[in-house]
Symmetry: C2
């Protein structure tokens, strides 16, 4: 097995707060070794759309991406947010390289098939979507890829794609080359055993324990899909998955970051 690779996902709530974002990026830049950042979009896309008189349409918590909205998320995610993050990381001494899935053909998705709902220009990631050869070239040349949540279909069509899925797909695919860990940064310090007590962080969860915690109701509803995705990634070759607070990322290399999910 090759060297360690950390794939880190940062969510919209941190991106929307300039001070928190800078604090997180400084910690990310300080992280040793090979790493990839995947970022969501935050509220800027919705706000920009509203300012342009375009209404954000959601179905079951998912954005419907018509042609006008695709232009906006491409502008905001791959343009403004991505380049602000990249220039900040450069300031902190990290040689960041901002990417959409079209750049270097790194992530090729397929437009989601229309069934009951037409989600528009939304990309679904397939098992061979990630171009590990291309990404390996960037990593080995010393660059830190920073992915926005925009992919392409290889036929000239850009696609809006879920950032959590991009992060886990990158981690799974790159685990064939690197000793890969996946880190989801969010607004809590980890998975809590008591939802009302922010200090009640569960330090580790094994795959077997997860079923128990789920059936006993300890893990609350919103957390379940996140953890299911995480254990799926572990089942596909990712070494560990961590879930914790973006602003605690400096504790990661001391083994003190959030909740660690393990195979067994």
């Amino acid at each position: 097995m090759g060297s360690v690779l950390n794939v880190i996902k940062i969510g919209g709530n941190v991106i929307d707060d300039e001070d928190q974002l800078q604090s997180f990026l400084e910690k990310f830049a300080a992280l040793q070794g090979k790493k990839i950042l995947v970022h969501g979009g935050g509220k800027v896309a919705t706000r920009t759309a509203a300012d342009l008189g375009i209404e954000a349409k959601m179905i079951d918590g998912r954005r419907v991406t018509d042609a006008a909205m695709l232009d906006i998320v491409t502008m905001v995610y791959a343009g403004l947010t991505n380049k602000k993050i990249v220039s900040s990381l450069q300031k902190f001494g990290c040689d960041a390289l901002g990417l959409s899935g079209a750049d270097g053909d790194t992530i090729k998705a397929v437009k989601r098939p229309v069934r009951e709902v037409d989600y528009g220009y939304v990309g679904d990631i397939l098992v061979d979507s990630v171009n590990t050869l291309s990404i390996k070239k960037f990593l080995e040349a010393g660059f830190t890829p920073v992915f926005s949540a925009i992919t392409h279909n290889g036929l000239g069509q850009l696609l809006n794609t879920n950032a959590d899925t991009i992060a886990s797909s990158l981690a799974v695919s790159l685990s064939k080359i690197y000793d890969t860990r996946l880190i989801y940064c969010f607004e809590k310090d980890g998975v809590l055993s008591d939802v009302n007590d922010d200090k009640s962080i569960i330090k580790t969860i094994k795959a077997d324990d997860f079923e128990l915690l789920k059936s006993s109701g300890v893990i609350y509803e919103g957390m379940i899909p996140k953890l299911e995705n995480a254990f799926h990634a572990i089942g596909k070759g990712v070494k560990n998955v961590y879930i914790g607070n973006a602003l605690n990322l400096h504790l990661y290399q001391q083994g003190e970051f959030g909740t660690c999910l393990l195979a067994k």
Copy 2:
């Protein structure tokens, strides 16, 4: 001297016309060997700004870039326009990699000093602005860099930068490594000896002839700064500079493209 590198600048008028842009990109993708594309922004930035209620301010034909306008040009140039070009090039089989100057720290500019006019967040390129090592890594790995006209100052500040200047600075700096040619694509077939006759293309202009053509009034006003920049690049190591029609790029490798500027 190493292998040949073609640095090609495409202007706003082609970018604004989807059919022309696709036709140009197909020809660019078919060009053999190492190449770099530099693109301007077109009218989308001005239109997007207007739709958002922000007025584009110009002084002496140059855009004044306040903080709000910087966000817009970053969104449009580095986001929408760049990613559309990259995904189209991928469709045509060219492994394009979209870049701002912040990505891989490829171009570090300085904010233009305020003298009579405050141009705002506008970047001036210095003699050592281009990170040839970083760009060489991309070229040698088989990628085709596609630069938008956004750079950074290395301290976390993005800067709006003239695309013509980016193209000539890239060509001059990379001429230390590659046998570099600079190609300016615009809406005419070349430099004309009769401004009213589109067929009167001057095939070659040597540096000595340029002074003569200028003093005799053959070369019209708008063309003079473009040619002066071109001869400056030749003086700094660029092998040849070509000026011609974007839609004729397929003729370039047959030696039939536009006007060729030579040292002597």
